[in-house]
């Protein structure tokens, strides 16, 4: 099972009728069991790319092939829960086939059991994110997309949620695509880092991390980050020269 992405270009037309290129050549593939991370500066077109990948946006040049019949699970940047349904009902609506045992195991991992009956309006952002994660995971996805799942949370919470995401990602063989602008999250969660340039986005490097997630140490994180810094700076210098 494999995701093949070959987007040649994507442009928006603004209200004044001017065309703005958002994506300029994004080409990669991801296998099941692999965690791909799209890393790029804010506003470089990551969310636009995700919309194309999940089929919400069909107006682009190029080709995206998702495995046929693949179930999609997605954690949106803002949780997008139904405020009028309880936590449990929100999950069950997306995943009507989930049984009680699996659901309570999932809620255990994400520490959501005591919040089952709460409405999303009563939850903090961190909790709402975890509900969104539970929903995406409960559908038993073949393709899981996480759009900035750790943005605007405090550090302690980020650490815990990151571990929980790692646990969920390990426990099921699926294609996982994480989008972030935070290098820490990228090097801790990803197997492959796809570095994006500033708008219009194209892939400037495709880094493979061979050490398993659990075995990575601070030294390795630092080395990878240094690599990334070199690659992204090179990109900037190259463009300045041209």
């Amino acid at each position: 099972m494999q995701l093949e992405v070959d987007i040649a270009g994507k442009a928006f037309e603004n209200a004044a009728g001017e065309r703005h290129a958002v994506l300029a050549g994004v080409n990669f593939s991801l296998r099941a069991g692999e965690v791909g991370v799209l890393v790029g500066p804010s506003g470089c077109g990551k969310s636009t790319m995700l919309r194309i990948l999940v089929g919400l946006d069909r107006d682009y040049q190029g080709h995206v092939s998702r495995p046929s019949g693949a179930r999609l699970g997605m954690v949106f940047q803002e949780p997008r829960l139904l405020p009028w349904r309880s936590v449990e009902d929100n999950v069950r609506l997306a995943a009507p086939l989930v049984d009680e045992a699996r659901l309570s195991a999932l809620f255990d991992v994400l520490e959501l059991n005591e919040h089952r009956g709460h409405f999303p309006g009563e939850l903090s952002l961190g909790l709402a994110r975890r509900v969104a994660l539970a929903r995406a995971y409960a559908v038993e996805p073949d393709f899981l997309i996480l759009d900035e799942p750790l943005a605007s949370l405090d550090d302690a919470l980020v650490g815990r949620l990151r571990d929980q995401i790692a646990l969920l990602v390990e426990s099921r063989s699926m294609i996982t695509l994480l989008v972030t602008h935070n290098l820490d999250d990228a090097v801790r969660l990803g197997d492959r880092l796809l570095l994006l340039s500033a708008r219009p986005a194209r892939i400037i490097a495709d880094l493979q991390i061979r050490t398993p997630r659990g075995a990575r140490g601070e030294a390795e994180f630092a080395a990878i980050k240094a690599d990334i810094a070199r690659l992204t700076n090179g990109d900037r210098a190259g463009r300045d020269a041209s």
């Binding site: 999940v54 089929g55 919400l56 179930r71 999609l72 699970g73 997605m74 949106f76 803002e78 997008r80 139904l82 405020p83 009028w84 349904r85 609506l93 997306a94 009507p96 409405f119 309006g121 009563e122 929903r135 559908v139």
Partner: protein
């Protein structure tokens, strides 16, 4: 408690006014009450109230269903909005009396004509309210439903309908009060029974106690339906909202 108090104040004001103005123009509460009891004993009160309520129920249901469907369509489909808009403006501004008279002329003095005329009067406000509601639907939630491949019907029931609920409640609330008013006119002009018909008779005979007896019972029924049906329904719909301080 407060409601009771305000009701007592109303009764007292009525009584004083009748003492000052004279029984001929404004009969006192006991005089009206005795007429109510007489009408209830003979059964006429229930027949007429029942006929009116049945017309209200039918016209209201018809207008709400049709109005919601059209409003939703106009909110979602641009072409439908463009095509329907002039009709909507026409209907919104057409006097109720014109609709009722035309309906009786074209369809005869029949029940169908009466109910259709009442429904047509209420229809445009329901359409407008639901159209506004549909325009405010959250596209982000639609996308969520698409990504998770939630079937259409379930999306409608769990994602769309709860967002429209406040608009449906508002349309129902304003629509019901409109129907209460118009149903009496329709009955006065062309039905042989109902509260509106009785009020017409009382007016022709200058029978003020009878007129007041029907008006008051009718108002009481409206009040009861509002408190027993409409308000609890609204509370239930908004139970997920954090309580306002």
């Amino acid at each position: 408690m407060l409601r009771l108090l305000s009701f007592t104040v109303f009764l007292a004001a009525w009584w004083i006014a009748s003492l000052l103005g004279g029984d001929a123009k404004l009969p006192s509460p006991p005089a009206v009450l005795s007429v109510v009891i007489d009408e209830a004993r003979s059964g006429a009160l229930f027949v007429n109230l029942g006929a009116t309520l049945a017309r209200v129920a039918l016209a209201f249901t018809l207008a709400m269903t049709l109005g919601s469907a059209i409003g939703y369509l106009m909110g979602r489909v641009r072409l439908a909005d463009r095509l329907g808009d002039p009709w909507l403006i026409l209907l919104l501004n057409l006097p109720a009396l014109v609709v009722i008279v035309l309906a009786y002329i074209w369809a005869g003095l029949t029940e169908v004509a009466a109910i259709a005329a009442i429904a047509i009067n209420k229809l445009p406000t329901a359409v407008v309210t639901l159209r506004e509601g549909t325009r405010t639907l959250d596209a982000a939630l639609d996308e969520m439903a698409t990504v998770f491949a939630i079937p259409r019907w379930r999306t409608f029931r769990h994602v769309i309908l709860p967002q429209l609920a406040p608009y449906i409640a508002a349309a129902a609330r304003s629509g019901l009060s409109l129907v209460w008013k118009i149903v009496l006119v329709a009955e006065l002009l062309g039905r042989p029974n109902g509260v509106g018909f009785e009020i017409g008779v009382a007016f022709q005979l200058f029978d003020i106690p009878l007129l007041l007896a029907y008006s008051i019972t009718f108002a009481a029924v409206v009040l009861i339906i509002e408190t027993v049906l409409v308000q609890p329904f609204e509370v239930r719909l908004s139970r997920w909202r954090p309580r306002a301080a």
